[in-house]
Symmetry: C2
Subunit: 318 residues, 2 copies
């Protein structure tokens, strides 16, 4: 009998991605820009269309379930979206039940950070660990936590909103409405903002060549790789902020490792020394040897993790 197969769905604010997944491998994948304006009904049709594509050559009998990774907050217990800041019209939508009807398969709905943490634990950089914190640093900062060999869920399955740990008293306003959150300080969006502020006083930087309104974290990383002084300084600050936030997470959860994913982790080689020296400097002695690792599944952590949750009902409901 072949290993069971599941469908992984990654619902994002810009893209819907669907994959056929077996163990840690993506067998087929398809994506479309998210039909934000169309709301849940249109997106459910996108799910159907993309699923048809990726399962075209699969035996339907081998597919045992569907895992959906979605931005939160969502209630993974009831399978209902609570609120997605980037997707209006989804509040209170019973996504799991609607999709179960449409797909005629068991469906697991999970916060995208928790799904990615699960993917990294089962098939990525966290294999064999008992305790890990996964942090995705992209436009925002999200994450998920595995401690004591279990997925940390909490009330309504909402544990692990690591981007909304306060790290700067009266700091910059955050997407969540709060102030000074880890996300507001260290996300890709914050790095882009720092770059736009930085070019004003560094006209010689390569970054000054970009139109300021599109200047983003990616440009900073590219310029740093070419030795640009401003870009390197911006990444030094970014590493320091990440080291600060990761130290907090290490004290709170006591993981064996912090796993970093998301777009900004493409600069992991440049950020890692600064992150680790920040932890060395700030963590209590007993926590200082905790390592930060780059995610092993790249942009597929959530997709593979969602499918893995569907394949591992014990993990999903434990």
């Amino acid at each position: 009998m072949p290993d069971p197969v599941a469908i992984g769905i990654d619902l994002g604010g810009t893209q819907v991605r669907v994959a056929l997944v077996q163990g840690g491998r993506v067998l087929a994948r398809a994506s479309e820009p998210t039909d934000v304006a169309g709301g849940p009904e249109a997106v459910l049709r996108q799910f159907a269309r993309l699923t048809e594509k990726v399962t075209a050559r699969a035996d339907p009998l081998d597919i045992i379930g569907v895992g959906v990774a979605s931005p939160g907050p969502l209630d993974s217990g009831t399978g209902t979206i609570i609120d997605i800041p980037t997707l209006p019209g989804w509040s209170g939508f019973p996504l799991r039940d609607m999709l179960t009807k449409q797909m005629r398969l068991p469906v697991v709905l999970e916060n995208d950070g928790i799904a990615a943490a699960f993917g990294e634990w089962r098939h990525g950089a966290g294999q064999g660990l008992r305790h890990l914190v996964y942090v995705t640093v992209s436009t925002g900062i999200g994450g998920g936590v595995i401690i004591d060999d279990r997925v940390l869920r909490g009330r309504r399955g909402m544990a692990g909103h690591v981007g909304h740990m306060p790290v700067v008293l009266d700091g910059p306003v955050c997407s969540c409405g709060g102030q000074g959150c880890f996300e507001a300080l260290a996300s890709g969006r914050a790095l882009g903002r720092a770059a736009r502020a930085g070019v004003a006083s560094c006209p010689d930087s390569r970054l000054s060549a970009e139109p300021p309104d599109i200047l983003s974290a990616q440009h900073v990383v590219a310029a740093a790789r070419q030795g640009d002084a401003l870009a390197l300084r911006l990444l030094d600050d970014e590493a320091r902020y990440l080291g600060l936030g990761f130290t907090g997470l290490i004290h709170l959860f006591s993981p064996e490792a912090v796993i970093m994913g998301g777009g900004v982790s493409q600069a992991f080689d440049l950020l890692s020394p600064g992150i680790h020296s920040g932890i060395q400097e700030r963590a209590m002695a007993a926590f200082r040897n905790v390592r930060v690792l780059k995610a092993g599944l790249g942009e597929n952590s959530g997709l593979i993790g969602a499918a893995a949750l569907a394949l591992d009902i014990e993990g999903a409901t434990a």
Copy 2:
């Protein structure tokens, strides 16, 4: 058959307390100032002496175990002290094994924050909850976490160091060596420091009557109860800082409630409105209705919790 009885020991930097505990009730209790200079050997003799006192009228056959709550970091898996900043000479001391030999009873060693969390969960303000974060706000800030009906332990059992979440970038130096930790901002020690700074510019405050070098959080609370304007302003700030830190913990762990213990919780009635409005203001919508409760067991949370862990081997080892 009577309910089983356990010995609870609370090893503190200033006091050693020992109690005979049945369920959530303290049957007998005794204490001595901690023999800090004498190190572990002297303190083990204190444990023996105090245990003799509290068990003088008990049937030894009813006593099924010993639970020790100790400052950390400690490794609850191996029963070894890692390091206690307030107690020199304890690093690496195998407290659980030494005490097992001395007492001839099964011994559980637990971080005092986790023990108190367990006590509040089983017998205090957290009874019936599935998810709670316990925070003790006294000289420092410590805590423990129960999520998904289990004690959160993590690597070496060191999860829940909630006092060392960074909340102020480049903030005041913390007892842990870091900077800007929640403890450095919102502990009783920090409140005392703020009071000493405040009296300089408020000579009319009742607090100016105290010798500045002994001015502490307790004086602030007492003066606030008499309507002193400076003391009330200091407590407003304290409530704001607590609300900030608790909001972070709510986003990270998704508890049903935060339970506040420790000396500063004696002012819970004065602090609660400010704490709750801070959470209302800063938390993401889905988390805003999480309540902060005053600890139900007062200064006995750790003592009762340690004994409860000894009585509940499943809870202790789960």
